[in-house]
Symmetry: C2
Subunit: 202 residues, 2 copies
């Protein structure tokens, strides 16, 4: 495969580009990800990628879409564990969320950063995957409210925005290295979970 004879037509350039992009993303971040380097990685000329992606945003959207799809699966897996108490699932979710962000900082940045969401850079394809993922946050919030873990007198959407905002904020502080150290991740997660669920059952 690697030493396949290079023909004029690549064969599966789209996948090759996405693979190369995912690799470069994880290693060097969104900012130093250039189409030209990706083309070079794939052994193809500078403008070849334009036959598979409208522009750079479209390629980044495609990568982010996979991230959302993966994360949505993880979230559902955690949420659907019937044999675990709602409270422990909530705690697990918090830890997993921050853990995902800390483990894949560049992917997280791409998924939830301004690069794609500002100026409508996100593709419709990406939105189709991301919005259900956002929605799931509300669904879970409603469930946790019904289980008495989160206050019942708050609008589910607002509460979802706040709880998600908290996780998002902690994730960003960690990723961007702002006054938060990755060695205290678990303590921060526990603190957040405690704060949310404190005396909620009363």
């Amino acid at each position: 495969m690697t030493n396949a004879v290079q023909s004029y037509h690549h064969g599966d350039l789209r996948s090759a580009l996405l693979d190369a992009a995912a690799k470069r993303l994880a290693e060097h971040g969104v900012d130093s990800l250039s189409l030209r380097k990706l083309a070079e990685d794939a052994g193809v000329s500078r403008t070849a990628p334009y036959h598979h992606f409208k522009d750079k945003s479209a390629l980044l959207s495609a990568i982010a879409a996979k991230g959302f799809s993966d994360w949505h699966s993880t979230a559902k897996r955690i949420f659907d564990q019937d044999h675990i108490s709602a409270e422990n699932r909530f705690r697990e979710f918090v830890h997993e969320y921050i853990g995902y962000a800390a483990t894949n900082p560049e992917m997280y940045e791409l998924m939830f950063g301004r690069t794609l969401w500002q100026n409508n850079a996100a593709t419709d394809d990406l939105k189709d995957v991301a919005f259900p993922c956002f929605q799931f946050q509300v669904t879970m919030t409603r469930y946790w409210q019904s289980k008495g873990l989160l206050p019942d007198n708050q609008d589910a959407l607002r509460l979802a925005q706040v709880t998600w905002g908290t996780l998002h904020g902690i994730a960003r502080l960690l990723i961007d290295g702002i006054y938060a150290d990755s060695s205290h991740i678990d303590e921060m997660c526990d603190c957040a979970a405690d704060l949310f669920m404190r005396t909620a059952k009363a």
Copy 2:
């Protein structure tokens, strides 16, 4: 001033660059802020800025420093209002924080975004202004704990990271336009404040 005769030496290029930068920042965002355009704004050649700033990061750091200084003043002003109850000051702080971010999204992005904090792009000068600002968050948290507004059994630093993280996260969701609408800012702030202070006095 505007039609002053252009001499070889500008006179106060540093300030002129910072002013132009602040203006362009507010209008078009960090990403489309180029040194060359700033130089043009100041009526000076492309590389002149390099005699006043080591590189682009240094210039951005200088702008961010002013933002931190301003915000720190605002925070202190709110916090020091003796005639207002601690709880109402807390609520005001929450609203002001999100309000500041929503009103000056590009400045907020610069101050708390990855552009400066990643890869040690931030100048020492910036750190000197920003760290006390971060610290103040902890100071306030400790105070609110002592007033029974926030749980006393949590480490102040962790709690500060979580509460700040919440505000930061909501701010980012708003700024980046991710599943949060600016028309519901106040409701979100109230929701967050309620969640934090809920039954804390018990």
